[in-house]
Amino acid sequence: MLTTVQDLGRYGYERYGVPVSGAMDQFALRAANLLVGNPPHAAALEITLAGPTLRATDKCLIAVTGADLSLRVNDWEMPPWMAIFVRQGWTITFGDRKSGCRAYLAVAGGIDVMPIMGSRSTYLSGGFGGVEGRALRQGDVIPVGVVPFHLPERAGRSFPSNLVPDYSDAPEIHVVLGPQDDYFTDEGMATFLSGEYQVGPTSDRMGYRLQGPEIAHKGRADIISDGIPLGAVQVPANRQPIVMMADRQTTGGYPKIATVISADIPLLAQCLPGQSTVRFEAIGVEEAQSRYRRMMKALEEVR
C-alpha cells in the first residue's frame, strides 16, 4: 500500500536539484479537484493499487478518479469520477483493482498539509512534503482545508463519461523524439518505435523501467549530464529504456531517445508495473502540443 499526498508538483526548484514530484496522473487529479470544487492545484491523495481505509472525522465532499479500485463509501459501492457527500463517521474503503494503477481522492477544501517550497506534494526519497515526507500510515489524521460552499450542493456531480480516459494495460504511448535521438543507430530507433516493452516490476514514481528489445547506441551510452524533463526516455548502456516520471532526478547522464508527450503521461502513469506493456509512436511536437491543448480544453469545458 502506498498512499501519498500529491498536488500538481513543486516547480521552480529544479535548478537546486529538487525533483518536481506531484501527481503521476495529473488529468485524474485535475478532474477530481474539479468535481469537488477545488482549484486544480489543490492537494489530494494518490492511492496506489491497494487503497487505505479512511474514516471521515467530519462531513466532507470527495471524488475518486484515476484507477478504478472498487470504491465503497459506508459500505455502499460507489462510482468513481463523481462527487460524493460523506457524513461524519462514514468509512471510505477500496477493493479489487478494475483498471489503472493510481486513484486520486480529492476532498473539498483540499488536503491541507504544510506546503514545502510552494507545494504539498510528497517527495519520498527526500523525506519532505505531504505528511512528514512519507506515505500515509495507520492512525494518520489528514487535515482538510476550509470549504467556501455548502457541501451537499455539489454532491452527485459526475465527470462526463466520454472524457474518462480508457486506462489500457497495453497502451500506445506517443513520444516526441529527442533531445539525444542522434545517439542511436537507425536500427536502434526502429527497435524503440516498433518493439513491445513490458513495464518492469521495479517501476515506481521515479521511473518506469521498461523491458523489451534492446535499443542500440551509435557509440557512447553516456552524455555530459543535463536536465531531465518529465517523460524523458533514457537508454543506459543496458539498452533498456527508462521513462522518467514525477519523482525523477533533475539531471542525468544517459542519452534520452525521446520524451513522452504530456497528454499521454497519465496513460503511462496508470500502467501496472510487472504487467502492462507499452508501444511507442513518434509524433511531431506541434501535434503533441495540440493533443495537450485538447485535453486541457476538455477539462475547461467541464468546469
Binding site: 535548478r15 537546486y16 536536465g227 532526478q249 539531471t251 520524451t259
Partner: protein, 233 residues
C-alpha cells in the same frame, strides 16, 4: 564550444539550449549568462530554466507557446545577453574537515596522484571553484576548477550511504553531497554547513554560478559548528 547554440526538443513542454559538448568554464559560463538573462527578461509562458554543465533546459507552457515561438523568444534573449552581464558571483566559504573518518578516501587520492595527504588538502583548499550545477539529488553540488593533480576515478562500487556534507572527487570534478544518499565519489572531507534544507528558500546554501573555497577546520570545530547548526545558532 559550438559556434551557434543548438536548440533541441525536450518533449512538448521544454527545450534545450546546448552550448557545447564539453565540461569547461567557458561553456558553463554561457549557460549561466542565458539563465540570468531569461530571469531578467521573462516572456509569457516561460517556466523554470535549469542550468547544467553545457546546456539550459527551458520549460515553457504549451498552452501559451509553440516550440517555434518559445525558441524565438529564447533566441531574442540570447541576442541581448551581452547587454545583461552576470552580477559579480558570490564567494562562499565552506568549512571542511579533511581526511580521517570525514574523508575516508583521502589517502587513496594522495597515493593515486603521488602526493602526501597534506598536499591533497593544500591543493584542494587552495583552489577557487565554480558551481557548475546542482542536480542529481537535492542540492548535490558539481564544482568546476579541481586542480588536475587531484583527479581520481570514482569508486568501483558506490557506497550505500554517503553522509550529507561529504566532499568528494570523481574524475576531474569535485562536489558535495547535500543530503545523505548512496554515492560513488572519492570522499576527502566533510562540511558541517547545511547545504540543503527544504524549509529554506532557496533550499540550498549554494546556487549555480557561485564561487566556492574550502576552508580546512579541525574535527573539534566541525562538532562545534554542527551543534550550532542544530540549535539554530
Amino acid at each position: 564550444m559550438y559556434g551557434e547554440p543548438r536548440f533541441l526538443l525536450a518533449g512538448d513542454a521544454a527545450l534545450v539550449v546546448e552550448f557545447g559538448d564539453e565540461i569547461s568554464p567557458e561553456v558553463n559560463h554561457r549557460v549561466h549568462v542565458l539563465a540570468h538573462a531569461l530571469e531578467q527578461n521573462p516572456f509569457p509562458g516561460l517556466g523554470e530554466a535549469v542550468p547544467t554543465y553545457r546546456s539550459l533546459l527551458v520549460h515553457y507552457d504549451p498552452l501559451c507557446l509553440s516550440f517555434e515561438e518559445a525558441k524565438t523568444f529564447v533566441l531574442d534573449v540570447l541576442g541581448k545577453c551581452e547587454e545583461i552581464p552576470l552580477p559579480e558571483p558570490r564567494l562562499v566559504e565552506i568549512p571542511t574537515v579533511y581526511g580521517g573518518e570525514f574523508g575516508p578516501d583521502t589517502e587513496f587520492v594522495a597515493e593515486h596522484n603521488g602526493l602526501s595527504v597534506e598536499e591533497v588538502v593544500r591543493l584542494h583548499s587552495g583552489a577557487t571553484y565554480t558551481v557548475y550545477m546542482l542536480g542529481f539529488t537535492p542540492g548535490f553540488t558539481y564544482l568546476g576548477g579541481l586542480p588536475e593533480a587531484l583527479a581520481t576515478p570514482r569508486l568501483p562500487t558506490p557506497r550505500k550511504l554517503v553522509p550529507a556534507g561529504s566532499v568528494g572527487i570523481a574524475g576531474s570534478q569535485t562536489g558535495m553531497y547535500a543530503i545523505t544518499t548512496p554515492g560513488g565519489w572519492r570522499l576527502i572531507g566533510r562540511t558541517p554547513a547545511t547545504l540543503f534544507d527544504p524549509a529554506r528558500i532557496p533550499p540550498t546554501l549554494l546556487r549555480p554560478g557561485d564561487r566556492v573555497r574550502f576552508v580546512p577546520i579541525s574535527a573539534e570545530e566541525f562538532h562545534t559548528l554542527m551543534e550550532g547548526a542544530k540549535s539554530g545558532a
